[in-house]
Amino acid sequence: MAAEVLIFNLLSAVAIVSAVAMITMRNPVHSAIALVLTFVNVAAIFIMLRAEFLAAVQIIVYTGAVLVLILFVLMLVNPDDLPEFHSGKPMQNVFGFGVGLILLAEISVAILTRTVVAEPGPWNEEGVAAAGGNIQVIGQLLYSGYVLPIQATALVLLAATIGALFLGRPDEDQEPSPKRRTVATISLAHTRGADDDLIPALRAANIKREAGDRDLIMARDADEFTTSAEEEEKKGQSE
């Protein structure tokens, strides 16, 4: 099965190269794309290791949901505010790479000197095929021996949902001062929220924007920046 080994090595190489690309890219959107490539390769490796269900779940959950959400959040952040990779903290980088190398050496020793203690189980290729396939086997095991962990996972997911709702709710009581406001959120429903002429807070803060800047002007909630130009004029006159 030389072809299998070749394919595995190829997939691993692409996964590792794109993982390295992820931590070295300056633009976080490029990092996210590199991570997508890594995850797709990992899913392919799952298929090679007879885990078709996990491969599909990996793609759906990681690349389909988590990375789309990460890209979503990335786009809400002003690219000029993102910290650079090598930015005045050389000790941090040296320390990080040093710890990584030490850990690599340790794990290599552990892998190369390991002794197998486990007995082979019943779920080899024939066993899985006889039970009807990967999904059927996972389903049977999951809902017989792992009922309690499933319930616990469901609770964790529920708690995470509630927590996300709590974190994402609009805060009414405290407004950050407009001076500090260089990164914010964008209103999806109102495109006019992207027009900085209409934003009193920005004008007050006297933030100048260069031509060709890619920054975003954001609305905290849907109604904040949808005041029409006429209303703005009226306000200006009354002042």
Partner: protein
């Protein structure tokens, strides 16, 4: 080398984990650190599935499934925190978030 060796996926898993760890230690952008954590979780899944394959067991795959579920929950909470951070502090630089230190 004609057979797929268990060492291969173990080294792959270790390499991805260490790359993720180095990323967490060296990068300053919260979102990139977050992506590195996701990569570390995925690399652990490779080890789980690989051992399941080596010993013809299913336990590893089931654990990997739980890890993916927990990773999804972690992603939701993490991104919620990052959104709250950008709204409150206007930064995603991890070195500027030091409320607990001072």
């Amino acid at each position: 080398m004609n057979e797929l060796m268990p060492e291969q996926f173990m080294f792959l898993s270790a390499a991805l984990f260490i790359i993720g760890m180095v990323g967490v230690l060296t990068r300053r952008n919260v979102l990139v650190i977050f992506m590195c954590v996701e990569l570390m979780l995925a690399s652990v899944n490779i080890a789980f599935v690989g051992f399941a394959w080596e010993f013809s067991q299913m336990t590893g795959q089931i654990f990997a499934l739980f890890v993916i579920a927990i990773a999804a929950a972690e992603a939701v909470i993490g991104l919620g925190i990052i959104m709250a951070l950008t709204r409150q502090r206007d930064t995603v630089d991890i070195n500027e978030v030091r409320e607990l230190r001072q």
